[in-house]
Structure formats: C-alpha cells, structure tokens
C-alpha cells in the first residue's frame, strides 16, 4: 500500500449539523407558535415572556388575555410538552426499529407494537388499576409493548432476515388480535372506559397534564439515550447479522437492547396519547433522504423531527376546526397512509417483487 493514498472527503460534514440545528430551531419556533394559538390566541412574544417570568427573568410582555397565564401553564404547555415527548419517542422508535429489522417499512404502528402497548394501557384504565401510581399506565403499556415487540420479532424473522411480506402480515395479525382485545375491554367497560379507549384508538393529546408528561418523559429520554449509544452498531447491522458479528458486534445483545428500547419508547408514546401511526415511518425516511442512513445522525434527527412533526400535527388537529378537535391519530394516518403506500410501491419496484 502506498503511504500517500488520497483521503476521500467525508460527504457534506456540514449537512447533518445544519439539519440538526434547523430541526431544533424549527421545534422551538413551532412549540411557541403551538402554545400561542388556540381558542384564545396569545401572541408568541407573550408566550415567551410568560416562560421568562416563570423562571425568574422579568423580560418581555406577559399574557394580556384573561386567564392567559393559566391557559398556557395548565393546558397548552403540558400539551405541547406531551406532543414533543410523544413525537420524539415515535420518531426515535421508528429509526431504531427499521435499523434492527433492516427494513425501512418497520414502524411501531404498522407492525402492531403500538396497539399491543395500547391494550396494556387500556386494561389498566378499564380495571382501574393503580398499583404503581402515576406510572401504572406506562408500566402496563411497556410490558405489553415489550411482549408484542418480541412476538413480532420472533415470528417475522427467518434465516437472519426479515422479509417485507412476513413483517407486514405479522403486523396485520398482531393488529387484529390487539384490536379484538381492545374491543373486549370496551365491551367489558362502562361508558367512561368506552370513551377513554375510543380516544386511544384514534390518538389524542387532549388528556395532557404535567403528571402525564412527568411519567413518560424519563422513559422517552432513557430510550433515546440508549438508542443513540447503539447507533454505530446499528450501522454495521445493515451489512447483515453475520457480517456484523464478524466485525465484533454482539448481535444478540444489540437486538435485545433495541427491542427493549423500542418497547420503552413506544409505551412512552402510547401511554397517554394513544395510537399515533406513521410518525415513526415518515420521519426517519425523510431524514434518510436528506442526509443518508447513518444512525448517528438519523437517530437524533428522527427524534427531533418526530417532535417537530407531532407538535405541528397537534396544532392542526386542535385549531383547524373551530371548537372541535380532530383526532390526532386520524390526522397522522391521513398524511402517513398515502406515504406508506408510495413507500411500498417504491420498495417493490426496487427489489423487483417481494421475493
């Protein structure tokens, strides 16, 4: 080997930095806008002022509207915060899931992990269980989500890879079973349970409170951090399990950690917000198109991007029709469904059939 081989330039080293900075800035702006709009509009400057005053800085205007400060701190901020946590968890879970399955069509909603977690959460509500206090719902969602993820993983893998068809069919089966279980719970519950579960299936952030945010945020944070630590190994996993193992990656352990991370993130997302599909599918895909598939950028970008998308989607859901609220899950599916359809067709064209 010659000692003077030219080093190939790292492609657009600036690109990922710009993307992450842009997404973060977008998220901050969108969060302020989302907090300012609603039945009573509070100008963004007053929203920022309210936050600054709360943390002890007497800068900027405070909300002028009657009960403006209360509307912000009791209703809108928790809702925006829950949207951020839920969106971040979904975006990150999608990226990790696609990486560990080696399949760009994997997503918690599509393959049924969200509905599995929702069954766990709904059971807790219907039976009025509170054995772990505030965390009961999250815990139940986590256990059910973990079991579902393991089930899907075991069933849809053959000879070290996941076929698209098997994965999607497994998703149909899991969604069917979970749907039936949710139906049973609805049948068994009174009117209150019925309403609660219905709003779950449609997905909504209307139930956002600070305690809810406090319960899911640590789970989401832990999940995102663990996902980021797995990033480089997920890159190598794209070579296939065998090649990854030959490169020294402990594939079994990586898979196990990722399955737990997916369950953690999905249960955090589902616990108080219900089933919000396609965020985990669309966001990582857009990021890959922008900066390539490397997980060290993809995972943080999908996390921030997911938060940005969900804050925006929730804003649209609650402001597009006056005095009415569009179910958030319905909205994301309206946009994500056609995207999924396009992705399916593209994947099929590329691989020349389902093989």
């Amino acid at each position: 080997m010659t000692a003077t081989a030219a080093k190939p330039e790292q492609r657009g080293a600036l690109g990922p930095v710009l993307l992450l900075a842009g997404l973060s800035a977008g998220l901050v702006v969108m969060a302020v806008v989302a907090a300012s709009l609603g039945q009573v509009n509070i100008p963004p400057a007053q929203v920022v002022g309210s936050i600054l005053h709360r943390i002890g800085l007497d800068i900027g205007p405070v909300p002028e509207a009657a009960q403006g400060d209360n509307a912000l701190w009791l209703v809108r901020f928790p809702r925006v915060a829950l949207a951020i946590v839920t969106g971040a968890a979904l975006g990150c879970a999608g990226a990790v899931m696609q990486g560990v399955f080696g399949n760009p069509l994997a997503e918690p909603g599509v393959i049924g992990v969200s509905s599995g977690a929702a069954v766990g959460a709904a059971a807790v509500i219907v039976f009025g269980l509170t054995f772990a206090g505030n965390w009961t719902i999250v815990l139940a969602a986590f256990v059910a989500g973990l079991l579902t993820t393991l089930l899907v993983y075991v069933v849809s893998r053959a000879n070290g890879r996941t076929e698209v068809v098997t994965l999607l069919l497994t998703g149909i089966a899991v969604n069917a079973v979970a749907g039936a279980a949710l139906g049973l719970l609805m049948f068994a519950s009174g009117n209150d349970g019925l309403r609660a579960i219905t709003s779950w299936q449609l997905g909504s952030l209307a139930g956002a409170t600070w305690p809810a945010v406090g319960a899911v945020a640590p789970c989401a944070l832990a999940g995102v951090a663990a996902a980021f630590l797995c990033a480089r190994r997920l890159d190598v996993l794209a070579l296939g399990e065998r090649a990854a193992r030959q490169l020294g990656v402990d594939v079994e352990r990586l898979r196990l950690v990722c399955v737990v991370v997916i369950a953690l993130l999905t249960s955090a997302a589902v616990a108080f917000s219900g089933i919000i599909a396609f965020v985990g599918l669309v966001v990582p895909h857009l990021i890959r198109m922008a900066v390539g598939p490397g997980h060290r950028v993809l995972i943080p970008a999908a996390t921030i991007g997911g938060a940005l998308i969900l804050v925006t989607a929730d804003l649209v859901a609650r402001t597009s029709i006056a005095y009415q609220e569009l179910p958030l899950g319905v909205l994301t599916s309206l946009v994500g469904g056609p995207f999924f359809f396009w992705l399916l067709r593209r994947t099929r064209t590329r691989s020349g059939g389902w093989g």
Partner: protein, 272 residues
C-alpha cells in the same frame, strides 16, 4: 448499553511463519450428514493459502468454521494461539476479517461509509487514530476511491465486491478469510485482488482464499489445499497439489496441467 467491560485483549505484532490458524480434526455436519470430516490444517502468517475443490466440497463451510460463524461438531479451530471460543467477538474481529460471498446492505450507505464500518472493532482504542489512513489505503488498493460517495446499493456487482474487500482490508486483521473474492470480477480486477492478497501476505498477514480458478491459485498461492467430499485430499505447494491425475480424480473431469511456454509455471486446463 450497560456492559461489564473486561479489558479488550488487543493483538500484538505478528511474525511471518507463526501459526495463524490451526484446524484439528474438524467435523461439521449438516442435517446429520458430514460436510467436513477429519480436516487438519495449519495456516501460517505470511502465506496465501488457496482453498480449492469442486462445488459442494466444503470450502465455504471450512472458511465459516475458521471464521467462527458455525460451531464444529467435532475438532477444534484455534486463532492466534487460542481456541475461537476463548476470544470475544470483538477480539476475534481485531484478528481476522472475513469477506463473504454475497454482499447485502439494508440501507443505501455510501461506499465510504461501508469501508469505514471495517474500523468498528478498533473504536475506542489507540488504533482508532489510524482509521482515516486505513480506510483511504484500503480504498486505493481496491480501486474504489472514485465512487467513495456513491451509495453501495447503486454499484455493480463487481464494484460491490471490491468495496466489500476494501472494508475487509480496512479492518486490518492479521488473518484474512476471502470467500471467492474474484467471482464477480473482470481480469484486471481479479489480478488486482490477488496482488492485494500478496501484499497482505508480504506484511506478515495470513490469507486464506477460496477460489475456483485453479490458474489463479497456481499463480499466487504459496500453498494449495484441495478439498474433496469434505476431506482434505491434498495440501502443499501449488506445484505438488495441482497435478493432472489428482485434479482429474477430484473434479471428475479430464484435466491437464502444462507448463506455461514463457514462464514455465503450471497452467491448469480442462482437456477439450
């Protein structure tokens, strides 16, 4: 990830002539039928060992067993003086690199990204500083620098094969296991691959290469191991192993070996 980290045993320098791989009494079964039986083989540092034999003779299986991809039903495989099981996956990756026959990639990583994956075992060690150099050298040696930024998935089969080889070289392991590295390549790149293998051997690395082209084996290998029906039919200097009667028997086809009119080295040809 929470890890109980034992100190990673990094490889020391290797000396030509030392045993890199020792296979003893190896038996591998598939579906109750032995695909390898009673194989004893030493590979030393500084040599190219060509693994040849008819289809289904067990070449790839032997390579997979040496690599650690499949567990032997009997016998042992040792790498760098220790049984494979005594190394962690990462310690193995620091000592041997494997070029598979088929190349798959789930996401459209660029060529450069793929070659960089070869450096993963060295992350967090002193050798990490050499990442860029190792990657650049590996890409230059395999003639893939020109498409560093193109997605691997958009490359032709031959280009992918060379990128995969570059990844293996970047791993900088002292034992290289190459499963049919020339299968998809044109003549120029076939020669290039073996020139790379020769260079690696000259650095004291051990190179085991599965190859179908007996001429390539004759031209480049220091020793040839001939497998037939899961057993080692012969192993030694290429001039001894690549003999007309032995090859005719093993391949069940009339084969003649003649001396090249100019260089005198053996040419292996089917009698037609």
């Amino acid at each position: 990830m929470i890890t109980l980290r034992r100190r990673v045993r990094q490889p020391g320098p290797v000396t030509a002539g030392d045993v890199a791989v020792r296979v003893a009494g190896l038996r591998v079964e598939r579906g109750g039928r032995p695909v390898l039986d009673g194989v004893d083989l030493d590979v030393v540092h500084g040599e190219i060992l060509a693994l040849v034999g008819p289809n289904g003779a067990g070449k790839s299986t032997l390579l997979a067993a040496v690599c650690g991809d499949l567990a032997p039903d009997a016998g042992t495989v040792a790498l760098a003086g220790k049984p494979l099981g005594a190394w962690t996956p990462r310690e193995l990756a620091m000592r041997r690199a494997m070029l598979p026959q088929r190349h798959t990639l789930s996401f459209p990583f660029t060529t450069l990204d793929v070659v960089r994956m070869g450096r993963v075992p060295w992350a967090g060690t002193a050798a990490e500083d050499a990442d860029d150099d190792a990657v650049a050298h590996a890409m230059a040696a395999t003639d893939v620098t020109a498409f560093a930024q193109r997605p691997f998935t958009a490359l032709s089969g031959g280009e992918q094969a060379r990128v995969a080889l570059a990844r293996v070289l970047a791993q900088d392991a002292a034992t290289l296991l190459l499963d049919e590295p020339t299968a998809a390549l044109d003549i120029r790149h076939q020669e290039l691959v073996f020139a790379v293998a020769k260079e690696q051997a000259a650095r004291g690395h051990a190179v085991v290469v599965v190859v179908h082209d007996l001429d390539l084996a004759a031209a480049y290998a220091d020793r040839v191991a001939l497998l037939a029906d899961g057993r080692l039919a012969a192993c030694g200097p290429s001039a001894d192993v690549l003999a007309a009667d032995l090859l005719t028997e093993v391949y069940q086809y009339d084969i003649e070996v003649i001396a090249h009119p100019r260089t005198g080295r053996p040419l292996v040809l089917p009698r037609r």
